[in-house]
């Protein structure tokens, strides 16, 4: 009976015995037993609560006997546990999203004593983001790469970068001949530069292959990853024709003073070991109407970002007035990232 109740997806709410006007009156409130037993619950919640119960029992026993365990470490363990059993982001209610954000900010506070702001702002109506790259203007200064790393909290130890700048010899666009790992003064004579990053394809192959739906395309066209749902199989990495995805081969490390504390759940919040990440068009900035960090940082104005659905946007002007092209169009991925020349 107990289990049946616990596992039933929808249980009928407790019948109210009386109607009572006073809000603080306790007569309409369920007693503890009812509140626990009649809560509607899905399997995962049930599983989590059962295991939390078990673990809390075992943990309590341990902490009760231990003189070193303080309330803080207990809270940490509790938060970690609840985080582990949370849902895929897309299945969360607004309330659950807030709860996980609260847990994550609290965990950061417990760890460092500092506060972070974490956003869950959804896509803005009638917005579809697009990007254009002016090959004539890029001079390979790499300011975009550095701004991206600072903005998005990538691992400093392995020098993870979302953007790659390819140095082509004049006369050909041949990526096999191009250099994307150069250490010399730029712009080098007889060369030109092209940046690549995640193209936020309309038909993203990475999304199709993910076995657990940990990555998807948002309504505004941004392809995102749920860092806490990803199992780290790296199938998306194999499926991406544009080298747009990065993997955390180790626990990512950002010095505390360098952490960008304005974060988005699907964007630049701190990642963990063994999960994928990628460019999100700086979702934490762009959904608030700002440009991505790379666009803002570019000293030559080679990078253009905007709303494809807004006929007056700069990106639409580029698409209408410049001869634009995209890379590997034959694969049918429909990138929302165009190149053009002056």
């Amino acid at each position: 009976m107990f289990l049946k109740k616990l596992f039933s997806k929808k249980s009928t709410p407790a019948p109210q015995q009386q109607t009572c006007k006073a809000e603080s009156c306790s007569c309409t409130q369920q007693n503890g037993y009812e509140a626990t037993m009649q809560k509607s619950m899905d399997r995962r919640t049930a599983f989590r609560q059962l295991t939390t119960g078990l673990l809390a029992g075992a943990g309590l026993l341990q902490t009760a006997c231990s003189i070193t365990a303080d309330s803080e470490s207990r809270e940490k363990a509790q938060l970690k546990w609840e985080e582990f059993f949370k849902k895929n982001y897309r299945l969360m209610t607004d309330e659950e999203k807030q709860q996980t954000v609260d847990r994550l900010t609290r965990m950061y506070e417990l760890r460092t004593g500092k506060h972070i702001n974490m956003d869950t702002k959804g896509p803005v109506q009638s917005v579809l983001y697009g990007y254009a790259f002016n090959i004539s203007k890029c001079r390979g200064y790499m300011d975009c790469v550095n701004a991206c790393v600072q903005e998005n909290n990538q691992d400093r130890d392995t020098q993870m970068q979302y953007i790659r700048i390819h140095e082509h010899k004049n006369g050909q666009i041949n990526f096999e001949q191009a250099e994307d790992d150069f250490f010399h003064e730029v712009p080098a004579t007889g060369h030109f530069y092209m940046g690549t990053q995640c193209y936020h394809c309309e038909n993203p192959p990475c999304v199709d292959v993910c076995p657990v739906k940990a990555t998807w395309k948002e309504e505004d066209g941004i392809v995102v990853v749920d860092y806490d749902w990803c199992i780290g199989c790296r199938y998306c990495m194999a499926a991406c024709p544009y080298d747009g995805r990065r993997f955390n081969w180790k626990e990512p490390h950002v010095p505390e003073e360098e952490v960008n504390k304005d974060q988005h759940y699907l964007g630049n919040r701190l990642r963990k070991q063994g999960v994928m990440e990628k460019c999100t068009f700086c979702i934490q900035r762009t959904r608030k109407g700002k440009n991505p960090a790379c666009v803002e940082a570019c000293p030559t104005g080679a990078r253009i970002f905007g709303n494809l659905l807004d006929p007056n946007s700069q990106i639409r002007w580029v698409l209408a007035n410049k001869k634009v092209f995209r890379l590997k169009e034959d694969l049918g991925t429909e990138p929302k990232f165009w190149y053009f020349m002056d």
Partner: protein, 410 residues
């Protein structure tokens, strides 16, 4: 109630058989256990530090683990070459050997699952793959398909032999109606697991080396060569070192299967080589890297030429009647074939898929000691499971292990 009692007695008797044996048996199992413990240590290092301790990188993001996984799916699928003739075609010759094939399938599948799990960045979150509890991207993701078909095939290959063995354990004949439907499903399922695994790679236009319609059929051909080759080696061993009667004919028939499959595999290899090298395009770069090296990067070149030489030599040997009919030379040919396909279909298939990268980057991959230790440990685990399963199965099939209702009651 009675059935439950028989089942528990069966489990207990099986454990007795599996834990007792000659000194050689104990040494063998001890060595395997030692290797598994070494792997556990290496895996602990990997869990602690992350996949950074492997040779993999953003450039080459799958390595030795996924290579072995791919190869072993083929070994598991090859059980069908014993199951089909035994249960469907009712070929009596195969009857004694079929349980060996099914045991091998179980061991190979458990190894496959282990290789996938050790490759995960977050194995603790693997429960996201459990339908109902997690979120399953089916039917879109081929990996989701693979999880289903591998576990389904594992289920079939555990339950069917288990049923037959429990019946024989009681001295009864299995009832056709109970298990034959499962057998029919498993025949199609065996082809399914390997096709789905091929589609996992073939479905990626981003990697032209894998994005080939020949990949699925080629997987099957190489699987039906390497799998039976391994089974032949095991059967020859059992014939030599135990009194269990395995007919000469079953080995001969299996040798014929391996021969034809190896020949087909060579034809497909030639077809691939022609396509890559007659009129090379950008998409042939991976093949150039594999066979000749690119810009001085040629770590796979000696491996692939070894594999091709082994395959050609073994196929020629198998094709010649006098070599195939002599069990000594047959065993040698099978060993060469198995090794050749392991290289070709493992590292020789997975690594070139990533070289050159999407923007033409050329990187090299060398497995780290952690990967090698874990890989050896998983193979040891497979051998351990297989040995135990076959020991019990043979004890029951030869009649030495039987249900004795009053044995333990005193």
């Amino acid at each position: 109630m009675k059935n439950l009692k028989i089942f528990f007695r069966f489990v207990r008797d099986s454990l007795d058989v599996a834990t007792q044996g000659t000194r050689a048996y104990h040494v063998w199992m001890a060595v395997l256990t030692f290797l598994m413990l070494l792997a556990a240590f290496a895996y602990a290092v990997q869990i602690e530090n992350g996949l950074i301790v492997t040779g993999m990188s953003d450039r080459i993001s799958w390595g030795l683990y996924i290579s072995n996984f791919t190869f072993l799916v083929g070994v598991a699928a090859a059980a069908v070459m014993l199951v089909l003739p035994t249960y469907v075609l009712k070929d009596v010759d195969f009857k004694q050997a079929v349980l060996v094939g099914e045991g091998l399938a179980v061991a190979a599948l458990l190894m496959c699952l282990a290789f996938v799990v050790v490759d995960l960045g977050g194995p603790a979150r693997a429960w996201h793959l459990i339908p109902g509890l997690g979120l399953f991207n089916w039917p879109s993701s081929m990996l989701a398909w693979d999880v289903i078909v591998l576990n389904g095939y594992l289920f079939l290959n555990i339950t069917i032999p288990l049923y037959i063995l429990i019946r024989h354990y009681q001295g009864k004949e299995p009832i056709d109606k109970v298990y034959i439907p499962g057998v029919f499903i498993s025949v199609f399922w065996a082809v399914g697991i390997h096709m789905v695994t091929a589609f996992l790679y073939a479905g990626l236009p981003a990697r032209p080396f894998w994005n080939s319609s020949l990949l699925g059929p080629r997987f099957l051909a190489s699987a039906f060569a390497a799998g039976p080759a391994l089974i032949i080696l095991i059967l020859i061993y059992i014939r030599k070192f135990s009194s269990f009667p395995i007919g000469e004919t079953v080995v001969r028939k299996l040798a014929l299967v391996a021969t034809v499959a190896a020949q087909v595999n060579i034809i497909m290899l030639i077809s691939e080589l022609f396509k890559e090298f007659y009129a090379p395009t950008h998409h042939s770069q991976s093949a150039f890297y594999l066979f000749f090296g690119l810009e001085g990067h040629d770590s796979l070149v000696p491996w692939i030429w070894t594999a091709i030489s082994l395959n050609l030599l073994a196929t020629t040997m198998l094709t010649l009647h006098f070599v195939r009919n002599n069990f000594k030379t047959l065993a040698l040919a099978c060993a060469l074939l198995f090794l050749g396909i392991w290289i070709e279909k493992g590292m020789g298939l997975i690594i070139p898929g990533f070289v050159p990268g999407p923007w033409g980057e050329i990187a090299e991959y060398t497995p780290s000691w952690v990967e090698i230790a874990v890989t050896i440990g998983i193979w040891a685990m497979g051998a351990f499971i297989f040995t135990a399963l076959v020991k019990v199965a043979l004890a029951i099939e030869s009649g030495t292990l039987r249900y004795q209702p009053n044995k333990h009651t005193a």
